[in-house]
Subunit: 424 residues, 2 copies
Amino acid sequence: MRLIRGVKMDIKNYMLNMGTKAKKASKKMSTIDTNTKNKALELMSKALLENKEKIISANKKDMDNGKKNNLSKAKLDRLLLDEKRINSMANGLKKISNLPDPVGEGIKTIKRPNNLIINKIRVPLGVLGIIYESRPNVTVDAVGLCIKSGNTVILRGGSEAIHSNKILTDIIYKASLKAGLPENSIQLVETTDREAVKFMMQLNDYIDVLIPRGGKGLIQAVVNNSTVPVIETGVGNCHIFIDDTADFNMAEKIIINAKTQRPAVCNTMETLLVHKDIKDKFLPIIKRSLTDLGVELVGCEKTKDIIDVDKATEKDWANEYLDLKLAIKVVDSIDEAIDHIYEYGTKHSESIITNNYENSQKFHKEIDAAAVYVNASTRFTDGERYGLGAEIGISTQKLHARGPMGLKELTTVKYTVFGDGQIS
Amino acid sequence: MRLIRGVKMDIKNYMLNMGTKAKKASKKMSTIDTNTKNKALELMSKALLENKEKIISANKKDMDNGKKNNLSKAKLDRLLLDEKRINSMANGLKKISNLPDPVGEGIKTIKRPNNLIINKIRVPLGVLGIIYESRPNVTVDAVGLCIKSGNTVILRGGSEAIHSNKILTDIIYKASLKAGLPENSIQLVETTDREAVKFMMQLNDYIDVLIPRGGKGLIQAVVNNSTVPVIETGVGNCHIFIDDTADFNMAEKIIINAKTQRPAVCNTMETLLVHKDIKDKFLPIIKRSLTDLGVELVGCEKTKDIIDVDKATEKDWANEYLDLKLAIKVVDSIDEAIDHIYEYGTKHSESIITNNYENSQKFHKEIDAAAVYVNASTRFTDGERYGLGAEIGISTQKLHARGPMGLKELTTVKYTVFGDGQIS
């Protein structure tokens, strides 16, 4: 028995109760009209701006605890909510309210020879479970997308952000009720007990899909332990292959962009593959410009023959550095490049820089990844940059959704059939 | 250590080896052109017809073992392969060869303000694992659909059908090689050891999707134990609700069709819900016609007040009889009918018989199922009957595919992006 908001309650019952309420709410939520959902998003956005001080003061508790518990500088930065970040969350909700509502969209209509009319339409998934780590802004972003797509949501954030997550959920939940959304359409797991996550991953009768958002460890743990269907997001060990026909100037610009623009995100480049015929000329260029930008380089033996870098180990090829570090490998052919990506890639984003038509086609065809680029940076893999609107993550799995997951990817389909007495 | 075709081999290594070969084959398979795939299907079809005697004689071994092991009559019937059924498998392959190839189909093209061209196209899932029970025809049907959609496949059939499955796989695999498909694109788990399934469900690095085909027990076991993504198919506790405005004649015909045409399949009706205002007139009609057809009826208290049937228990509402048996419940309103379906339905197919516009809309909106019917039989939920071609099953889950799963549902998407040096 544990204390949750002063009430003694067994964790399993607590989670079951939450699941039951979410499922009940989702029945109502699935029929709520677009205007009401948009009004909710706008009121939520407004409420965040009106409660900045409260949010910052709750976040201070988390920050103080984080410092006490010696969280890394990077983690503390992810945890921080300041005026700018609150404005950004509020803006995010407004943007979502401006996106088209996917629910009810007709996908196709089939008229059968017996006059049966079969409509395939888009409907909400139902109840979404979001399991995430230290960024409290995920609370708001995820709720916005879940609500607009007609789903109800159970949130389980990191324990280090619990005060921030509680206040954010309280504020947006109250605003959602004011707009007319059903009770319990937004719920936060308020205990930081790890048992809660364990039960959450077994709530097949109540949660339709789990989306883990965070590092590799979190995602793997959810994939391995959940019986609820999971959408994997985010792990990106992305490669760029420079073939022997590449424009060096273009290649250099793309490499700098893909490695240094925002190294901590999933669509950043982690390994550079260089064709052997250009290694002598190209590697010194790239060494100079990346070293100037503070990028640490490691390389294979052939790379080391040309530029002075540390030796790359097996671990480097598999690693998602998420940092200013890059592994470089010289390959004999496009086939070796593709094989390397097949072995070490995480099916996220891969790019070739080439001026050879056959190679561009071959790379597009043979690379198995969510996004395959010719002569462009891997950094483009992003819902906004694809013109799809806000995203809940980049799916690296093949079922249901692949690549940037926007509102449509948070829906499923239903066949509604109109008859006049047809029997088979 | 166990014996497989005379070779001692540890089961785990055996499955890992199979996964590795399937993954390697899938790289080639994903780029095979449509003509080659169609040729393979045609040669496979021809080979089945040319080897009828071999197939029937292998099947006799399974039938003899089945009789020795006291398999039920229904199970023995499912196991049987005769000339007619072999013809039907061969025809099935031909039909699949005539269906359009989903691979490479363009879903949309986005041109971005920076001139980046983003194509969203359909690509194979990769490696499919099919786990099924006693019907050996699944071996051929599943392979046909997997091959046409550019996937490689690992089959794990029921131990009682092992001789039939082996000969069928041998025949169609050899034919596939003759047409030019890659080695190991079709593999059968040849051990009947249950450990093999256990390992198969953990082969996340090799199998992209598992599709269990069979009874509730099999499907639940796979859902609960697999870390590989699963598509649930098939369990159908389907309802028909007769509201107070229904045309009795239409309702009677649809009920007879949905219950008696083929009671052992998933889209058959299992519970009939009747509005209280028509119970006195309608229940006697339905009792007479269904009893004449050999259907056993059980009912709620209110049903029993009007017609002489056994009492339905809680278990009856949840049961998928797959037999000539029907549970009947009188409800006070459409809301009670919808609530009952929400509680006991398996999200497969649900139908309302009504002449009330508002009720027809309400039922379509509020019922959470793959297929929702107005004035038609639930028996229509089927790939062929929807005009989608052959199907691998009816998905009752919400991720990836819902309803009849044809060739398109065995694919995923990929973004192929064409640039000329774009950076973000």
